[in-house]
Amino acid sequence: MQDDTDLLLRRILTDVLGLKQGQAETFDADTGLFGHLPELDSMAVAGLLTELEDRLDIIIEDDEIDGEMLETFGGLLDFAKAKRTAA
């Protein structure tokens, strides 16, 4: 099965950040998220994680959430992929 995690994550970020079509395609592994984008505050990140759970059909435990996974697009993508593999 082809892994669509990357695509789904870009879509979720587009929805949360209100990005224009195609804008999320410019994100790379080092693109900064939490702590880098002023609009991405704790409430927005909480919403983002809930959307991730719903759309990727995963459960994210509180103790799995750390600064590193939220800091960059690459970190969040790796985390989401690992969760989906384990699910």
């Binding site: 209100g18 409430m43 990140v45 509180d62 959430i65």
Partner: protein, 223 residues
């Protein structure tokens, strides 16, 4: 669109004036809108008013009351509970002679007993889950570790400030178990197109989505 007031009954038998936004031209179709809760309410307010403008143009009245303790209300949020919010929305519906009700997201938990629409309804527990997560994230940023169990226990006992909202213990415990009533006509986001504006980090609007929701409501409310 004009600001309006209505008298909200208080648990002690008194009453308190509360605010609302209203398109009221005394028309036959009259929609009471229960706003989305807390942070989602802020993010959806612009969208909500855009839907009301469209209903007005289509010949329908609508009113958006404040839940006591939120927005312009002079009541405190910590003293609120679900029963009071349900009674308040019932009183607003009566005051404005509403013929239909629309709940938005968490507002679906408090739609009065009228023919009702639920837009993207959520359970109270889902709202609290997101707010607790936001609190833990913010605390962690500040170098403070908190866990969900301890926060939940504290909230049930003494109330808790979540995402800037001081929730009393009664409202917190009520939200933990509240689910939208069955029997309402559910409007899921996929019928509106695009993604829900409550997800946006910043409040936003979307004319196409407002058009779509207003059209669905007009179609369903037409006599």
């Amino acid at each position: 669109m004009t600001p309006a007031t209505w008298l909200c009954p208080l648990p002690d038998g008194g009453s308190q004036e509360e605010q609302a936004l209203a398109f009221d031209s005394g028309r036959a179709c009259r929609l009471l809108i229960v706003p989305a809760l807390f942070d989602e309410g802020n993010r959806l307010r612009r969208f909500t008013v855009e839907v009301m403008r469209r209903l007005d143009r289509a010949g329908m009245d609508s009113v958006l009351p404040d839940l006591p303790g939120t927005n312009e209300s002079l009541s405190g949020l910590p003293g609120q509970d679900a029963r009071h919010w349900q009674d308040a929305m019932g009183a607003a519906a009566q005051h404005f002679r509403a013929t239909h009700a629309l709940g938005l997201r968490g507002g679906c938990l408090f739609t009065p007993p009228l023919p009702a629409f639920h837009y993207a309804p959520v359970k109270g527990a889902q709202i609290l889950r997101g707010m607790l997560r936001a609190r833990m994230l913010a605390s962690r940023e500040a170098g403070l570790e908190e866990n969900r169990e301890a926060l939940t226990a504290a909230a049930r006992e003494d109330g808790l400030v979540l995402a800037g909202y001081p929730l009393g213990s009664a409202l917190f415990r009520d939200l933990e178990r509240l689910e939208p009533a069955t029997g309402a006509s559910v409007i899921a986001q996929d019928r509106i197109g695009g993604s829900g504006l409550w997800l946006r980090a910043e409040p936003d609007e979307d004319a196409a989505q407002a058009d779509a929701l207003a059209a669905l409501l007009v179609e369903a409310m037409q006599p």
